[in-house]
């Protein structure tokens, strides 16, 4: 039985080091060709006409004027006469033309008559929703009795609106046919699963669809499907007999290509005199556009809290359907829960870290959170610097500290990998995975180099092509676990085969041999050795190859992480402007393959978190049903100097390494909204019940004005 495992700490050559990402040079020089950068000969540009109304019926489409424009090659009606459109920005027609400007001319020449129908886009007003879908109530224990005998109870309504994924590379693809074979350069998180989806829509076998994604410009959960524009792009290319590039314009990208569901809730939570949680009651609602929104996991992390009552109402709106956004449902549940618990701690006159600590038995991983809370508090100098919520407004600038904790799974996805050792010593891994910016390419190379005792330049990683062994979509922080398991297993098997073939030369049994430092040697007798190059040259004329598959959790990978974040803010009491001064993140993720890339994931999570805590929201106009900020000027991302000082501590070493590799892309983005909201409450003495913490919302809270979001 083969032994698949990671080397012990003192024998690791690559695992846990900090090599720079391998595609850094091509990215920083602009030489990396993204799907949107593909310019094959004869390329046509395609653009999509979208519906300007949030709810309408297509009465008539006249394409004749558009078709008459010189340079227009194909006009394609997507939703023809009689179609009911359910959100502004939905696709009505598409045009392929010689240039993008001509395609835009054609869009302007398309004449579409609509019958405008009533719409609803402001789900925060649940009582006004025409199609709210109340779910059934779920009760555990006896919340009424527990609230009745509780020492302290807080109750309030909290909420956060929908926000956009805002991938910088828009959704889209370059589609090219060669006979009845389709090649698609797609900006996707799902290289191996896209072909089948294209094939079924286009009526061709999946074997005739090739997907290529060497690089891609961000997905965050929104790029798992070909989407309608993908199928339309392929159809335009087939009809035109030429390659077609179709990428969404920014307003389309913001409006239809990815949003996170909103979450609102009336929350009641209570504790006893010892500061122990005794009851939770939440009446929540939210929307992810037309499909509504499901219940978020409440109460978050403290899921073993006794005496709970949950109700949830899904509120469909005339907005494009939401997509999985980095840690689906967790940031919302985290904000609703951690803000409520922070307010309860304040009612109890308890330090919120002390309060969390007293209730960790209601979480699944009390020991990890306790250790992390201690480390985070130390980094923040919490004991010395934290003060109870300020009641005085002695100064225009008030500082505050806030804390939040979070959890995520991260189990490795299904992944297959081929590893080949060539007689010249070159080693290659091929897998149908993708590097969406997390560093997958670099991680796989490190696992290869670790296994064969080589340096990174001596190994090659090929991914981003569905001709390689299938590997799962990059979602749920599952990629690193999947590819590490499949690559390590394939590499260990290939190495065993090489060692078996060279063992006679070293007059040893294969089991006695080790590959490290660019050499193969007899364990304990380094003088009985040969270079890796010589070993490879003795495998025979043909390469040695092995296939590895992720069989699921085990010694190589597992799942389940916890993290703690502390925010420090400064609030201008006169303008309502919130500045994040400092964020501290303490995070576990099992065995860390690349410390630098792991830290980058956490920094990135913190920064995206500052964005949705302070700036980011979809602002639908109730009158027109369109977004008022479907651009990058009024949809605000955090900038370089908006995010304060960020400090990251990774839990690693004994107790963590043994858990194997666990994904990290999502957990660090969960807590920032809650931690920053709690810091603002600490600074100004009152809860701002809404995210993002824009100046108007802060001033409203300071003035004691209620209202909703």
């Amino acid at each position: 039985m083969a032994d698949y495992s990671w080397p012990e700490a003192d024998r690791r050559g690559q695992i846990g080091r900090r090599p720079a990402r391998l595609d850094g040079p091509v990215k920083s020089t602009g030489f990396a060709r993204y799907p949107s950068d593909q310019n094959p000969p004869g390329l046509l540009a395609a653009k999509i006409l979208t519906c300007p109304h949030a709810h309408a019926r297509v009465v008539r489409i006249d394409t004749s004027a558009a078709e008459a424009i010189p340079g227009v090659r194909v006009v394609h009606v997507i939703q023809g006469e009689g179609s009911e459109i359910q959100w502004a920005g939905d696709e009505v027609a598409a045009v392929a033309a010689d240039t993008e400007d001509i395609a835009r001319d054609a869009l302007r020449a398309l004449q579409v008559e609509y019958e405008v129908l009533p719409h609803f886009v402001t789900e925060k007003h649940r009582d006004r929703a025409p199609a709210a879908q109340p779910g059934s109530e779920r009760t555990d224990g006896d919340p009424d009795a527990a609230f009745a005998s509780a020492h302290r109870t807080v109750e309030q309504t909290l909420g956060m609106p929908q926000m956009a994924h805002m991938c910088l590379e828009p959704h889209g693809q370059v589609a090219a046919w060669d006979g009845d074979e389709l090649e698609v350069h797609a900006s996707t998180q799902a290289v191996s699963t896209l072909a089948g989806q294209f094939a079924s829509e286009l009526g061709i076998p999946a074997t005739q669809v090739r997907i290529r994604t060497e690089y891609m410009g961000g997905g965050f959960g929104s790029k798992f499907s070909p989407d309608r524009w993908g199928i339309v792009g392929a159809e335009l290319a087939r009809e035109a007999g030429a390659p077609v590039k179709l990428f969404l314009d920014r307003d389309q990208e913001v409006s239809v290509a990815g949003s996170r569901p909103s979450a609102f809730a009336r929350v009641r939570v209570a504790a006893d005199e010892q500061g122990k949680l005794v009851a939770w009651d939440s009446d929540s609602w939210g929307s992810g556009g037309l499909p509504g929104a499901s219940q978020t996991p409440l109460p978050y992390v403290f899921s073993r809290l006794p005496n709970r009552r949950l109700r949830h109402t899904s509120v469909p709106t005339n907005l494009a359907g939401s997509r999985a956004w980095r840690a689906p449902n967790h940031p919302q549940a985290c904000f609703l829960t951690m803000a409520s618990l922070d307010d309860l701690a304040n009612e109890l006159d308890l330090d919120p870290i002390e309060f969390l600590d007293r209730n960790l038995e209601f979480t699944g991983r009390a020991d990890v959170y306790r250790e992390e809370l201690g480390i985070a508090a130390g980094m923040a100098e919490w004991k010395e610097r934290w003060q109870p919520r300020k009641r005085s407004r002695d100064s225009a600038l008030q500082r505050g500290l806030g804390v939040s904790i979070h959890t995520w799974g991260g189990r490795g996805h299904a992944s297959n990998c081929d590893v080949t050792v060539h007689p010249d010593g070159a080693v290659e891994a091929r897998l149908g995975s993708q590097d969406i910016g997390t560093g997958t390419r670099t991680i796989v190379a490190q696992v290869l180099a670790e296994t064969f005792g080589l340096e990174l330049p001596q190994v090659r990683v090929s991914l981003g092509d569905n001709r390689f062994p299938q590997s799962g979509p990059s979602g749920g922080s599952s990629t690193v676990g999947g590819v590490c398991a499949s690559t390590r297993r394939a590499a260990q098997d290939a190495l065993r085969e090489v060692l078996t073939r060279v063992a006679p030369r070293l007059e040893a049994d294969p089991e006695q041999l080790t590959a490290a430092g660019g050499r193969v040697f007899v364990e304990g007798e380094p003088s009985r050795s040969m270079s890796w190059t010589e070993a490879a040259s003795r495998i025979g004329g043909a390469p040695v190859s092995a296939q590895g598959r992720n069989p699921g959790p085990g010694r190589l990978i597992s799942s389940g992480v916890g993290g703690v974040q502390i925010a420090e803010v400064e609030v201008d009491m006169e303008t309502g402007v919130v500045q994040v001064k400092r964020m501290i993140a303490v995070q576990d993720c099992g065995l860390i393959v690349n410390r630098r890339l792991a830290e980058s994931q956490v920094y990135g999570g913190l920064i995206m978190g500052v964005g949705y805590a302070l700036f980011e929201e979809w602002i639908p106009d109730p009158v027109t049903g369109r977004l008022l900020n479907a651009d990058m000027e009024f949809y605000k991302l955090a900038g370089l100097l908006d995010v304060g000082s960020l400090e990251v501590h990774m839990m690693t070493g004994p107790g963590y390494d043994e858990r194997g590799v666990i994904g990290l892309g999502e957990p660090p983005v969960i807590s920032p909204g809650a931690a920053i909201s709690n810091a603002v409450a600490n600074a100004i003495g009152v809860r701002v019940p809404w995210l993002p913490l824009t100046p108007d919302r802060v001033l409203d809270a300071l003035a004691g004005r209620g209202g909703i979001a």
């Binding site: 805002m166 900038g639 370089l640």
Partner: protein, 155 residues
């Protein structure tokens, strides 16, 4: 452009960005917002950083245009490009070309910029993956606080 003279004929309405990407196949500058709000298309015109999406190509006739590809290549990187690699100032990398050009222009003007100069030089560039810590380290320069002292570039 990037050290060579390029002659081409385009419609007057073609932006510098579309001309670079679609006509000249110079795809380092990226089309992200296409409205002068995100900085991903930043190039140098006569040494000054501009948004290529907000300039007509004919306005740049007779001028010198340097894109991120003109600063250096993977084999011979500009020092700012090398610093982006060493400080992991990129994840998906789609904002990176614009950031690299804007940072190179900023540091050429002032090798040790203060906060206001950084805001003026890089406040018009946005990253979605959240690579600002690395970019700050690039701006701060080697050995400065915020730099990645534990580096081990290239393994």
């Amino acid at each position: 452009m990037n050290g060579a003279v390029r002659r081409l004929e385009v419609e007057p309405r073609v932006t510098l960005l579309d001309g670079l990407r679609d006509v000249l196949d110079t795809t380092g500058p990226k089309k992200v917002c296409d409205r002068g709000a995100c900085g991903a298309c930043t190039v140098l015109e006569d040494g000054q950083p501009i948004y290529a999406c907000s300039r007509l190509l004919i306005e740049s006739a007779g001028r010198s245009i340097t894109t991120v590809e003109g600063l250096g290549s993977p084999e011979a990187m500009h020092e700012v490009q090398r610093a982006f690699v060493e400080n992991d100032a990129q994840q998906c990398g789609y904002c990176t070309p614009g950031f690299v050009v804007a940072t190179a222009a900023l540091l050429a003007r002032n090798p040790a910029p203060g906060e206001e100069e950084i805001e003026a030089g890089l406040g018009g560039n946005f990253c979605r993956c959240g690579t600002y810590m690395g970019i700050r380290a690039v701006v701060a320069g080697p050995g400065q606080a915020g730099g990645d002292g534990g580096g081990n570039v290239g393994g």
